[in-house]
């Protein structure tokens, strides 16, 4: 696999669900020096802002979203003592309980992996043009934040 192909597989915005095991192995296989892998998995919950939620739809800005996710990965690799970072976000309609977003960080030591993983998901929510619409009993709501 070329470097470009590898980087593309490590930062993705996709409609389909993903296998957490496969994504972890994608990071694990990048370096034999990895001694700890931290993950964050965001899933669709059925309650938000005191409303029941029956389904969530994610919309994203094609091109800019991928660019921002690549920047987050590159900054994490540069600013933290980690060996690999994978960032994956789904779009389209997502049922309650399904996977939404996955961050996987491999490092020599767990403390660095945890720190970088938290930074990545926090930064993703701040700078990545992705929008969430929830279906509630009152109608559809575009949500400004998902904690």
């Amino acid at each position: 696999m070329s470097t470009v192909d590898t980087e593309a597989s490590l930062v993705r915005v996709q409609r389909e669900d993903f296998s957490i095991d496969e994504e972890i192995n994608r990071v694990r296989n990048r370096s034999t020096r990895i001694g700890g892998i931290a993950t964050f998995l965001g899933t669709a919950r059925d309650r938000s802002n005191d409303r029941d939620v029956s389904r969530i739809t994610f919309e994203y800005y094609e091109g800019m979203a991928q660019k921002k996710l690549r920047e987050i990965r590159e900054r994490a690799l540069q600013d933290f003592d980690v060996l690999e970072v994978l960032i994956l976000h789904r779009y389209g309609e997502i049922d309650i309980g399904e996977n939404i977003v996955l961050i996987v960080v491999g490092a020599m030591h767990r403390a660095d992996a945890f720190k970088a993983c938290k930074w990545c998901i926090d930064e993703l929510k701040q700078i990545t043009p992705i929008w969430k619409r929830e279906e509630t009993p009152d109608g559809q709501v575009w949500v400004e934040q998902h904690p």
């Binding site: 802002n49 919309e59 091109g63 993703l124 990545t128 509630t136 575009w142 949500v143 400004e144 934040q145």
Partner: protein
């Protein structure tokens, strides 16, 4: 020149009251050499609510996939978008920008 502005989220319905469609683009006539501030003024004349959110930077303008400031000059070939608050971008828990709609 006419610039094409991409719309996302609730802006697709807010800026197209008449059509009831989820239009994903807006055509805005501007003079050559215009800046982002001029685009915001033009949008404010079309929809004061959206214009106010742009002025307060609750809605951002991006040019060629980067968030732009008011002084950024625009050309007819730029890829321009209006970005409502991202789904994780607020510092106030539970805040919602859009109204509920059916």
């Amino acid at each position: 020149m006419i610039v094409t502005v991409k719309l996302f989220g609730m802006l697709k319905t807010q800026l197209h009251h008449d059509s009831k469609l989820n239009e994903s683009e807006l055509k805005v006539p501007l003079d050559h050499g215009c800046r982002v501030d001029d685009l915001i003024a033009a949008i404010q004349s079309m929809n004061a609510d959206v214009g106010d959110l742009l002025l307060k930077r609750k809605i951002l303008v991006s040019v060629n996939h980067e968030v732009a400031h008011g002084e950024t000059e625009l050309t007819g070939t730029d890829e321009i978008a209006l970005l409502p608050p991202f789904s994780g971008g607020s510092s106030t828990p539970g805040e919602m920008l859009a109204d509920v709609y059916r």
